[in-house]
Symmetry: D2
Subunit: 298 residues, 4 copies
């Protein structure tokens, strides 16, 4: 009898699902392939454990000699590394798209940049929040030596949403030698200095404000050297923002700055706001796009 029918009937008959249990009461170790799992590792830069969530391709364990391109995917403010899995079903999207051939297997990793009084992707408060050192000098090397990641810029992309959209663009503007593609969604790529919310409520808030004002992407592009502009042209830039999203002006400014600098940059304005519905559909666009890009050297 066909397996599919058996599954169908199992569901239709509403039999309670029981996960197979090993003798002795131990559940077998579950494969991490095709799943997103949360991990921690000790960070010397921070002097404490740091969390990250990592999705491994469906064939990660059955192809032990295969290596994969990597997509660093940064989360937004007031959130943490688990959001893409828990709020958008990242593993389900990636598994479906690779099963259909629309995307290739890739490792997708989200480091935690929240959960403390500090948050975000920029260094802050002197050496008290050295996130950029952590990301480039410690986290990336850790991930790329502990998982089977293909080497080279052509196999490394970065993306993110909201605060993480700002982070991923800034990182690629800073280190264009490291990434072949950037997919930012609803990116906080700038900030409005005049906001009364920015009146320093306390010392740390004042420092955060100062930090954000130093990281306006359109200004960074306008100040780029000719050499940097050439380096930016080696990257596939993709900005995706809803027409109801409060970050839309920053996304427009970024797109226009890129156009003015002569750097090809994609812009998509779709229907929607600053919501997980939007970002889940964005992931469905991002993974096929990166799949066409990865591994292409010219």
């Amino acid at each position: 009898m066909k397996k599919s029918i058996l599954i169908a009937l199992a569901i239709l008959m509403a039999a309670p699902m029981v996960t197979a249990q090993q003798p002795g009461g131990q559940f077998p170790q579950r494969s991490e392939a095709g799943r997103t799992t949360e991990k921690t590792f000790y960070s010397k830069v921070f002097g404490t454990d740091r969390a990250y969530s990592i999705y491994l391709p469906r064939d990660y364990e059955t192809n032990p000699n295969k290596s994969y391109p990597i997509f660093y995917l940064l989360h937004g403010a007031s959130d943490d590394n688990r959001c893409y899995e828990n709020k958008a079903g990242l593993s389900s999207i990636a598994n479906q798209l690779t099963a259909s051939g629309e995307a290739i297997g890739m490792i997708i990793v989200t480091p935690n940049a929240g959960g403390t009084e500090y948050e975000g992707y920029y260094n802050m408060d002197g050496d008290k929040y050295p996130y950029e050192q952590f990301f480039f000098d410690e986290f990336m090397p850790y991930i790329e030596s502990n998982y089977r990641v293909k080497p080279g810029k052509e196999n490394r992309a970065i993306g993110g949403l909201s605060m993480g959209g700002g982070g991923c663009v800034w990182y690629a503007l800073t280190r264009p030698d490291l990434f072949c593609a950037v997919y930012e969604m609803s990116g906080a790529l700038g900030i409005d200095e005049s906001s009364s919310l920015w009146n320093p409520r306390n010392e740390l808030a004042a420092k955060k404000k100062a930090s954000y004002l130093e990281h306006i992407c359109s200004e960074r592009i306008a100040a780029a050297t000719a050499e940097e502009i050439e380096a930016y042209k080696t990257i596939l830039w993709y900005a995706d923002c809803g027409d109801d999203d409060f970050t839309i002006d920053y996304n427009w400014d970024f797109f226009k700055a890129m156009k003015k600098a002569g750097v090809p940059c994609q812009l998509r304005i779709r229907d929607g706001g600053h919501t997980w519905t939007y970002w889940a559909s964005g992931l469905n666009i991002a993974l096929p796009l990166l799949s066409a890009r990865f591994g292409r050297t010219n």
Copy 2:
């Protein structure tokens, strides 16, 4: 200062969200417009309370004289009336699509057809599970007299997924005078008699098997009278099923039976399986489609 910037900063600054509370510790009554809420009402047919979930359009309370078309949306097996909201974000989808003009405001209601040893949309076990009487004679009249529903077949559609996909098609085949459109997803529109799972484990299982075998949609269509076929032609039929879904053969059989009978029927096979990712995207297709259909009398 712009409201959007205030919202943006509120989010970026990660201030904890506090819901306004009334003096005396009472939360104000929250509007039900633009939301899905769960309700119960006493069913004489069943002799007990029955639950349903209902989505009311965004302007339901601000336009107290406006009435709306209605979409009955049936859930699947092993599930209940809350699933569309909790697993697919129904209200978020409907609010977004009506805000953008891609869909019109409609009432969307899901009655509970699960949660007991019986489940499903067909009568079963003599008069012990009279679901069809409940649906047509009690539930529909109750909803359409207690909410501002536009009258007439042209303002009434039905849809569903899996077991509910079978239910919605069967209901429209039985009562084509009531519905102007049917949107079924991954419908259990038939069954495989040879399955060993159907060997009656107990008396009720035997009755369920007998019931399913009497409700094969393609057979119902093949047996339809000329008059029924003409009535079917007044309905917009839409079948939507993933290429990895175990119900795909039933969907194909249904589509072919309609074609053979000369009844226009849409078929869409998209990428995916028997999953909420698929059904959430299906809702994004269904609501604009029904919006073009509602209220059109010829």
Copy 3:
């Protein structure tokens, strides 16, 4: 034998197609339903014949008592009324979408606004090119009395591309009482005064320049009265422009002016430029959208 198979084989066998010819060498009069045909009528305003292209719904002739909503669809510069059919396959798109239920039957009409030394949708050169009088006082009444058009603003939409995108937005800003929806693509909604191309090469060019400078949509919105703003809110505004299109800044300015005025306005930036590939896909979006809108009075 099934008709579909016969058709299939006819194509596979590559038999030469012969159109049936009547005795006497006359082809039978072909139905205009489901097709776009070019027509002319005598314009008193212009004192000469004026051309237009009109698409009639598939059931226009079989339902002689049925009336339809209407979509005025304006062409771009250096083009004429035939472009939507000849370059985007308008009738094929409309027939497919209505067959599938995704759009309702509507009349789609494009008046000629080109082909002379004047062109465009604004009055020009004193009374020598009174296009606005022609459109509102003569063309619209002519069409709506010679075809079965449903009455009322709620059954009338306007759209267009490039120069016609500017025209349709301006017309709706001027007469918001007439249209329920506007779908503009790649709209020339403004102009760059500093362009050397605008240095008047001759007297007419100077007049054209003056005319364009008086029709900048974002300025018109900024100058609107409170009453006009309220009227604008009764319209579904939809701007659709490619990220490689040279009109993108004008589209952005329009969207921002609407936002600032508090008028809901949809913006979509999709992949593409000022091309018929883009506009053909835009029609596939526009017709379902208008179908949900037509006939809704609140």
Copy 4:
């Protein structure tokens, strides 16, 4: 002044376009990059010139040391090699998708399989129409040695529509060692023997009928050896057919045969019929899909 504005104004001002002409009245040789051109070469197999149309990527001439993956794209019956460019705008689609990063540069080539009393992709009439020898032994080697084609199965895909959909699937079933992906649209993957159209009108028609009956894809799959099945699993199979298309049953049979054989196969049923509107949108799906696939060796 901005180039984009200059272009915009040029269009808005409706200045007649003049193609630059060289002194002496000769037009400069036009680049073939980013364009589809028609070519011929002498075929020893046929003993005559044979035509083909070839699209070269946008950077083909500026990157003289770069090689590209190749997509063989077969045309339908009663048509010829020029159809994808002339009826679907192939070069425009490919240029747009590569500009946006959604597809990579690839060579797309369509050999002529029509235009004589014979047509199609199967050998016919003894040695009088040795198309398979021509394709595999002469055409493919000619193309891959005269253009900069990347070597290896992982850089070679095949596709087609209608008769060419049948051809591309059959070729990949016959030579699974050669292709990494198959994208068939509206494929004539089978035939109905009972059709009266197949009553041999003449000797050649009888031979054509016999040929088609020997090339039913689902039967070929059912008869495949275990080794062949394993080889089929190395290919990304993608079937795309409209729900109004007369070939839908053949597409379904093919999909089911693949499922039964345990070979992963994608199926998409979208809205539409046997039309160029459908196939043009199919190309927009195919090129990104192949872009993710090309060059991946496991």
